[in-house]
């Protein structure tokens, strides 16, 4: 019996959609790309050329919903479908674009470099809880002009898993797609078996920037999957009410969906987001808040109602350390997202409002995800009589450890956590140095980094990738790329 939580009734979803359609007509969407306005106008949207405001009728969203796929897969480097976008399948990946890393010795949030990205990729690759990599960190040691494609380059060298990524500059998009095509066997094969999904973000409230429009149109034309990441901030960049914010998320996402499907009908798209509430004391955007989780769940429910694959940002924390708050917020919000059946939940490893990655948190979050996955897996009938067959020779003694069924079935019934989770006796815990969670995480990180093995990639393809990225780096003024080890 699948476990699922739904926060909105079908009537309420219908009202959300009705009001989103009203917003698409009044006040409309500010579309800052001339080419995008033309595409929309050609299809029947009304455009005010002076204000750039575009009015999108419901007939266009209905047409887009007919052509957009209801599900698709991302493939690993060997061509296996490992991430299913669709239905209620739940996957997790690390949060992306961190600008700081938690230094586990000094506890400072330090600017990130290639070494940090390499470590995040290695940890993510080693943990089965993460079905996809993300281009998790912005590397301070390479020119900003290649910041986006360089992150993808490092992931492609060190990982076999699918990738959640994105571009910062439209001129780099084609190179990034080319990089993916190298390992997929060409652009046609990449379109058939995509390895990566690209995040594209509207700008709340109700704005599609020139960059985001161009990004969306190009990705659709290249048939590279797109993840829409609308991020209304309830009370600042969208209405303070959760439902009001969900309406705005729906309107922004529908506008993106229409432009995307007009650019290439049938191109794959994910109904995603990074919504949050706005903290009225600190002016911050808490990702550990209950309401933030509820926004993500409700937005996904609207996406599911429309028959679309879903994504949100959860499983992150606003704490600055890998502490009790970090554990509580990340675990609870990962659980909330999973119970909503969200296909891709991004955010693991992240602290400080998605600004800071932590290797230690990444291994801790993996345990929360394992916990959540175990719950989602549910209770199965492992034996025909559920219990009565296990009482032969029973003598009112707790002798179940001796039973064959115990030996055979305990690994099916129980998830065995990593050493990050303490289940030792007080004596055993003390014998092992009385380590707290953070210190256990630090040890686990060291162990995973030491045991990581680089994927066995075709050296010809690896060289081709290296040549392509090196030439981009040279154009950006960097003669030699950092060594990836």
């Amino acid at each position: 019996m699948p476990l699922k939580i739904e926060l909105l009734s079908p009537d309420l979803i219908q009202q959300v959609l009705d009001e989103a359609h009203q917003l698409l007509l009044d006040p409309g969407i500010l579309v800052q790309s001339g080419a995008a306005r033309q595409i929309l106008a050609n299809a029947g949207a009304r455009v005010d050329p002076t204000t750039q405001v575009t009015y999108i009728p419901e007939s266009l969203t209905a047409r887009a919903l007919e052509t957009v796929p209801h599900s698709f897969y991302l493939y690993d480097v060997t061509g296996n479908p490992t991430v299913h976008y669709g239905g209620d399948t739940v996957h997790f990946d690390p949060g992306s674009s961190g600008v700081h890393i938690l230094d586990s010795q000094t506890l400072e949030h330090c600017p990130t470099t290639t070494t940090d990205l390499v470590n995040v990729i290695k940890i993510t690759e080693s943990l089965p809880q993460y079905d996809a990599q993300s281009t998790a960190i912005i590397c301070d040691d390479v020119p900003k002009a290649i910041g986006d494609l360089y992150r993808l380059y490092v992931v492609l060298l060190l990982s076999k898993k699918p990738v959640v990524t994105g571009t910062f500059m439209i001129q780099n998009l084609d190179t990034m797609v080319e990089m993916l095509a190298i390992f997929a066997g060409g652009r046609q094969s990449l379109a058939q078996k995509p390895r990566a999904v690209f995040d594209v973000c509207p700008s709340p409230p109700l704005v599609w920037s020139e960059f985001a429009c161009e990004n969306l149109v190009s990705l659709a034309q290249l048939q590279v999957p797109v993840e829409l990441v609308s991020m209304p901030l309830a009370g600042a960049a969208s209405p303070v009410t959760l439902l009001g914010s969900v309406v705005q998320h729906t309107a922004e996402s529908l506008a993106g969906l229409v432009l995307h499907q007009l650019s290439r009908p049938g191109a794959p798209l994910v109904w995603g987001g990074a919504p949050a509430i706005f903290d009225m004391r600190k002016g911050s955007t808490p990702f550990g808040a209950a309401e933030t989780a509820m926004l993500g769940m409700a937005n996904a429910q609207v996406g599911k109602y429309l028959g679309l694959p879903t994504h949100t940002y959860l499983g992150a924390s606003d704490s600055k350390l890998v502490d009790a708050q970090a554990g509580m917020e990340s675990g609870l919000s990962a659980l909330a997202g999973a119970l909503a059946g969200i296909n891709m939940i991004s955010g693991a490893g992240m602290l400080d409002f998605l600004a800071c990655q932590s290797l230690e948190k990444l291994v801790l979050d993996a345990e929360a995800i394992a916990w959540v996955r175990r719950l989602l897996d549910g209770i199965h009938k492992q034996t025909k009589p559920l219990a009565t067959g296990m009482y032969a020779d029973f003598n009112f003694k707790a002798d179940f450890l001796k039973q064959k069924s115990t030996r055979q079935l305990f690994t099916k019934e129980q998830y065995l956590p990593s050493p990050v989770i303490d289940r030792d006796s007080l004596r055993g815990w003390q014998m092992n140095g009385s380590q707290d969670t953070f210190n256990r995480c630090k040890s686990q990180v060291q162990q995973l980094l030491a045991s990581y093995k680089r994927p066995d990639l075709d050296p010809t393809l690896e060289n081709e990738l290296h040549r392509l990225v090196t030439s981009q780096a040279r154009q950006a003024g960097m003669d030699q790329l950092p060594v990836i080890e």
Partner: protein
Amino acid sequence: MAGLNQVGEAFSCGQSFLPELVMAGEAMKAALAVLEPELQLRGTERQILGKVVLATVQGDIHEIGKSLVGTMLSSAGFQVYDLGVDVPAETIVEKVRQVGANIVALSALLTTTMVRQAEVIAALEQAGLRQEVKVMVGGAPVTRDWVEHIGADGTSQDAVGAVALARELVESNKKSGNM
């Protein structure tokens, strides 16, 4: 100003919240629109801590953090000229010259746009205004190393810290005889 200070103090104590602070700021703006022409007629001027030209740099359209800093600076007694988002360096330089600003505050949320903060500083230097103004920079990717790297005068991770920094900067300006 007294009313605004009261809301500001209540905010600092956690007894009032951003919506109230913003409302008080808007009320002050509305009142000043009426009062300032009259004050000018009488040859007097409102006492301010300093003049701040505030903008999100060109190529970046992130508004919330920048506006919040503007609200907090206004509440603290600064005269804020908020130029909005996606503002070219030359527009910022022109405004600094026009109003005789003490501080330029530059926001950038993206790693790709924070380089524009350096461009604004270069433009201020080229216009011969760099010695006249202090430059504070903000945004998620901005670090102290970045501040040093581009030759800015300070940064803060949040709006409350930005007010403290602005106060420090005008004080140091006074000491160096620029005000």
